[in-house]
């Protein structure tokens, strides 16, 4: 970046202010607001690319740091900064939002300006979550994010949206409240809300365990882990396409990010204590949810369940490191598991986003998400079928796509902890392929099933651009994930060394 801009603030406030502008412009100038919001999303995306270019991957220190006092009385500050874990997530957020704005263009005909504004504001808030270094600022963005999401499902959602929104809101809100209590306790101990201060704060064993549980309630709901996952399929089914995409691609990653930024570094001893518990929950998510995904009749539900199963790899990768270290005494396996887990989060952002967009493309045309209403779509939409094949395969973890990398690394490294962990995790090879390709077979392959399928129009150029961008991302990170790992490497190393040290008083 040539000039020294407050790039993180721009990433947060440009889309938020832009969103307000779109809101102000209103629906009367439909064409203008489309380009306006696309322009804002594009600028935000380009800004995040500068984050990548200027990022110094040789250090784990926070970069692009911004600091301003906010509420002096409680030493709450407007404190931003990113490391190797948050940069990829921010870029993912801006990239996915760009596509969502583009995808909503012609599809939404009810209160378009509100729709676009909601996503732009949401984008800013999400960037805020990933960039905040102050716990209260983090909490602010974390909760504020729920509002646009609540509106998106509540206004543009399906027939059962009220149940879904309330379930979604209460579930996630309930979890967050416990997190707030934990944060307040931590403040009382550290006299600071600066997250890195909390990382080095010595804590007693019991306090750590209680804090871990409080954080767990917030993050497990968000990511989501079994058994607090049932809000997700409902929310997805009722959400409009863009809402589903943002939910799967970004919102779930917040939970994962929470584990990485709060649970693990703040209460490492409790994390160690709960490792087996977390591994078991992750494995249940992978296997149990894999089976459940298989029998879904609604495509969105199927992909939602597949998301939960894939996020099981993220949580497995976060926590299995402790067991690997206990067995091997080396941090190498733990680093690999952690890298795989974060890779899985990024990749899942692309793939689940792409699959929800695929369902959206079909839903826009036939207004059904039921598998039985389709069949033989390839005959009328060959280009679409080719894209969906790629994404279905990526979701099955095919090597050469990004979906493979994370799963591969997590399976490989967890073998070092225990054969059986790797064994259960590897069942996703079979289950994942089964639910993805069985769906593909019933929806895309076969002879034309009914008149509606007969009349389908193949994807237009706007849809093709969206699909192609996602396809490129999926293939690029599958064939050459090295750049991403280069960014993360130092941060992961530091995180692993940090969490393996006890900080019990």
């Amino acid at each position: 970046m040539p000039i020294d801009l407050p790039i993180l603030s721009l990433l947060i406030w440009a889309p938020i202010l832009g969103g307000l502008w779109v809101l102000y412009a209103g629906d009367r100038q439909a064409e203008t607001i489309k380009y306006l919001s696309l322009g804002i999303a594009m600028i935000t995306f380009l800004l995040s690319i500068f984050l990548y270019i200027d990022f110094d991957s040789t250090t784990h220190e926070m970069q692009f740091v911004e600091f301003a006092p906010w509420i002096r009385a409680f030493s709450i500050n407007y404190h931003l900064g990113v490391d190797g874990i948050s940069v990829p997530l921010i870029i993912l957020t801006t990239f996915i939002n760009l596509l969502i704005i583009l995808a909503g263009w012609e599809v939404i005909d009810y209160r378009l300006s509100h729709y676009l504004a909601a996503f732009l504001i949401l984008e800013g808030l999400m960037n805020g979550v990933f960039a905040a270094l102050d716990a209260i600022l983090f909490y602010f963005f974390w909760e504020a994010m729920l509002i646009p999401m609540f509106l998106i499902i509540g206004i543009w959602g399906g027939p059962n949206r009220v149940y879904a929104t309330i379930k979604f809101f209460l579930y996630t809100f309930l979890g967050s409240v416990f997190m707030l209590v934990a944060l307040l306790y931590l403040y009382s101990q550290a006299n600071s809300f600066f997250i890195l201060d909390l990382h080095v704060l010595p804590l007693g064993e019991l306090a750590q365990k209680l804090i871990f549980i409080a954080f767990l309630l917030a993050f497990a709901v968000k990511i989501p882990m079994w058994p607090v996952h049932t809000w997700l399929p409902d929310a997805h089914v009722e959400a409009p396409t863009g809402g589903s995409v943002i939910l799967a691609a970004i919102m779930l990653k917040m939970g994962g990010y929470g584990f990485l930024r709060f649970s693990l570094p703040i209460v490492p001893d409790a994390s160690l204590f709960f490792t087996d518990f977390m591994i078991v929950l992750s494995l249940i998510a992978i296997v149990y949810i894999g089976f459940v995904a298989l029998v879904q009749q609604d495509m969105k539900k199927l992909i939602a369940y597949s998301s939960i199963s894939h996020m099981g790899f993220a949580t497995l990768g976060f926590f299995v490191g402790f067991s690997i270290f206990a067995v091997t005494g080396s941090t190498s396996g733990a680093e690999m598991a952690m890298g795989g887990a974060i890779m899985q989060m990024i990749s899942h952002g692309f793939i689940s986003g792409a699959l929800f967009l695929c369902v959206g493309v079909m839903y826009d045309r036939i207004h059904s998400r039921q598998i039985k209403d389709y069949g033989g779509v390839v005959n009328t939409m060959p280009h679409f079928a080719a894209f969906m094949m790629l994404f279905a395969m990526a979701n099955s973890g095919l090597p050469g796509t990004s979906g493979f990398v994370g799963e591969f690394l997590v399976i490989l490294s967890s073998y070092q902890a225990s054969f059986w962990i790797a064994f259960l995790a590897a069942t996703i090879l079979v289950l994942g392929a089964a639910y993805n390709l069985w769906m593909y077979k019933r929806v895309i392959y076969g002879d034309v099933a009914n008149e509606k399928v007969e009349k389908l129009q193949d994807i237009n150029s706007r849809e093709t651009v969206i699909m192609a961008l996602l396809a490129i991302a999926v293939l690029l990170f599958g064939l050459w994930p090295a750049p991403l790992f280069e960014i993360m490497d130092e941060t992961i190393k530091h995180l692993i060394t940090h969490i393996l040290q006890s900080k019990v008083i």
Binding site: K167, Y171, P227, T230, W231, Y288, F291, V292, A293, L294, V295, Q296, T331, S332, G333, A334, E335, M336, A337, G339, G340, G376, V378, N379, M389, M393, L398, P399, G400, V405, F408, I411, L412, S413, S414, Y415, Q416, F419, W420, A422, F423, A426, T427, L429, V430, A433, A434, L437, K441, I444, Y445, G446, D447, W480, P481, A482, L484, F485, E486, D489
Partner: protein
């Protein structure tokens, strides 16, 4: 030269990939002939460069190449790379893969002539060639897995090429899932390797493998397993999926739903032999585990014998050859188990040529008969299709191991190797492959006689249009017929009994059956002469004679025998009931589990009891609380007095 060779290797891999992308993305723009030209040129470049590489390494004794092309990622201090290992084993595979693939590209012009998915087909088979080359040329386990799954993907796409057919899209899903079961084992094997060696690079693993020979791992409390055995069996489970070994063979016969050229290329000559290649490549590991070798022998022997039997009762021309492929893969597997890796690769090479030839010949027949595949509706075709007849005869003789033909040398070597092996499972395997010889000859010539000889059983309409296949079809047949016939002569001595593979394949001295055979080896004619003193040749003659007896001399006999052996016949027709078993137990079982977990676990338990349950209890509770706020002053007064009394009682009591 080394730098030079690296760019050649990269070109070998990339030219089919580029061709595939062009044909796939710009198929419409370049048209049908554009698509076949670009892919044929792409794969042609690979073939010619592979021959150059072959000459460089085998004849000129050039340097073995082992190097990274680029770094895939580095994580936890472990660098995973994309790179090539080109040694004597690799170049052999490269030549077979690219050459057979090239022939099949040409053949496809004729076979797929009228198909609307013409460009798509060429794009797929070029992509396959790329994937297969990546697989065989890899220098590490990560890339091996990439190639392994990529060929599986293309196989999936091609089996389901005619996606309107329900049977085709059932078969491709089945193929992919069964292969994934194998890959499940494979990835665990790779994980075990990473755990043991902290690297995925072949050479580093092989060099350090002997040190790991005694390490154990505990999978169940109290049971210690040799780590090497766990690694080898896990990897071999992958091979069982890809190379269709019992009980993961079930996908291969169904894969015949795909167009014939790919049955020849993928499901006979190349992809299904990936497992065989992989085990040979990993010989330094497998040699350390006799348990794994015994396991391989048993699986291979079961496949060789029992799958051959099924070939006897099939009536679909392609399925007969498919079961034959299963059985021949069993032979190769048996050779691996006997540590005769070179013999397995030798049979892989000869089989690639003659089985591709047989499939393409079958394809020629199918095309001429307007997509009729039932051999009961064929017969007497030798008059109309002399070239196909002759080339098919060469393929058939090679398959049954008729003295002098390529298959004879490779199969005889395998049988002899198993005979000499001292592993406990070798006896069983020996008898299985011996009886297999009769069966092979019988089903092969049953097919041959029913198709080309005897009564002409096709309908009038088809009969009146019988003719020889066009040149794009018979030229590849003839080209493949040449190696099917003679390649054995050239390869048997060098490949089995000299330093052909040098360091590429490692055999422990105690297992080295081929070296033992080598002491008896005195040239090709000595080999043939020696074979005539052994039972297999005569068993092949017996099978040939029986086929002639049953299908030319006394055509009514087979039905009577089938009638007499009704239960056995039924078992064979039902393919030992394995498809039904899998369908009910696995496919059905998984769905039942899924439904149970969803319905009981998610819907009733978590959502019903906890989520909506807590919502309901809040509702109930608030309902109760609402009743308390009745608004009547005397209610409140009464409650206050009651509480006051309670408090007083409480305090006084203490």
């Amino acid at each position: 030269m080394a730098d030079n060779m690296e760019s050649i290797y990269i070109a070998i891999v990339l030219s089919p990939l580029v061709a595939s992308i062009i044909a796939g993305l710009f198929g419409k723009a370049i048209g049908r002939s554009g698509a076949h030209w670009v892919t044929i040129i792409g794969v042609g470049i690979s073939s010619i460069l592979s021959l150059i590489a072959y000459k460089h390494i085998i004849f000129d004794g050039g340097d073995i190449f082992n190097g990274a092309v680029y770094q895939w990622l580095i994580s936890g201090g472990i660098s995973l790379e994309v790179g090539f290992l080109v040694d004597r084993l690799t170049v052999t595979m490269m030549v077979v893969v690219s050459f057979v693939s090239w022939m099949i590209h040409i053949y496809t012009i004729g076979y797929m002539h009228d198909d609307p998915g013409y460009q798509r087909f060429f794009s797929y088979i070029s992509l396959f060639t790329f994937s297969m080359l990546m697989l065989v040329m890899s220098n590490n386990f990560m890339q091996l897995f990439f190639g392994w799954e990529a060929v599986g993907l293309v196989s999936y796409l091609l089996i389901g090429f005619w996606y309107k057919r329900e049977s085709a899209i059932f078969a491709n899903l089945k193929a992919f899932l069964v292969n994934r079961v194998g890959d499940f084992g494979f990835i665990l094997g790779i994980a075990a390797i990473l755990m043991a060696f902290n690297t995925l690079d072949y050479w580093e693993v092989f060099n350090r493998a002997p040190v790991q020979g005694d390490v154990t791992i505990s999978l169940f409390q109290g049971y210690e397993w040799s780590l090497m055995t766990v690694i080898c069996i896990s990897l071999f489970i992958g091979a069982m999926g890809k190379s269709a070994q019992f009980p993961l063979h079930v996908w291969l016969p169904d894969s015949m739903e795909g167009p014939t050229p790919i049955s020849a290329l993928i499901h006979a000559a190349t992809m299904v032999t990936a497992g065989i290649f992989m085990v040979a490549r990993m010989s330094p590991l497998f040699e350390l585990s006799e348990t794994a070798l015994n396991f391989i022998l048993i699986i291979g022997a079961i496949t060789a014998f029992f799958m051959g039997l099924l070939g006897l009762v099939q009536n679909d021309i392609k399925r007969v050859i498919a079961y034959s492929t299963l059985s021949q893969l069993g032979y190769m597997t048996v050779a691996l188990g006997a540590s005769a890796y070179a013999a397995a690769i030798f049979h892989l090479v000869t089989h690639a040529f003659f089985k591709a030839l047989l499939f393409l010949a079958a394809g020629a027949v199918i095309i001429v008969l307007h997509h009729e595949q039932d051999i009961r509706k064929m017969g007497g075709l030798y008059k109309y299709m002399p070239i196909t007849w002759l080339t098919c005869l060469i393929g058939a003789l090679a398959l049954i191991g008729f003295p002098g033909f390529s298959g004879f040398f490779s199969k005889d070597a395998i049988i002899e190797a198993v005979h000499l092996s001292t592993l406990p499972a070798a006896d069983f395997a020996y008898y299985a492959v011996m009886t297999g010889v009769v069966i092979t000859a019988l089903y092969t010539f049953r097919l041959f006689f029913l198709v080309f000889h005897g009564k002409e059983r096709m309908d009038k309409e088809t009969w009146s249009h019988l003719h020889e296949a066009p040149a794009v079809i018979w030229v590849p047949l003839s080209v493949l017929a040449v190696p099917s016939f003679i390649i054995g002569f050239f390869l048997v001595g060098p490949m089995l009994f000299s330093e052909y593979f040098a360091d590429a394949i490692y055999v422990a001295p105690a297992h080295n059956v081929l070296a033992e055979m080598g002491q008896e080896y005195h040239g090709i004619f000595g080999f043939i002469h020696h074979a005539f003193k052994q039972p297999p040749v005569y068993l092949a003659f017996v099978g040939l004679f029986l086929a002639w007896l049953f299908y030319i001399r006394l055509p009514d006999l087979p039905k009577k025998i089938a009638g007499l052996l009704q239960p056995l016949y039924f078992v064979l027709v039902k393919k030992y009931g394995m498809d039904e078993f899998n369908q009910i137990v696995f496919a059905g079982g998984v769905r039942r589990i899924g439904n149970f977990l969803w319905d009981i676990g998610d819907v009733k338990f978590i959502d019903g009891l906890f989520v909506n349950g807590s919502a309901l209890s809040v509702q109930w509770f608030s309902g109760v609380v609402r009743k308390l706020q009745s608004g009547y002053l005397y209610h409140y007064a009464f409650a206050m007095i009651f509480a006051l009394l309670l408090l007083i009682f409480f305090f006084v009591h203490n």
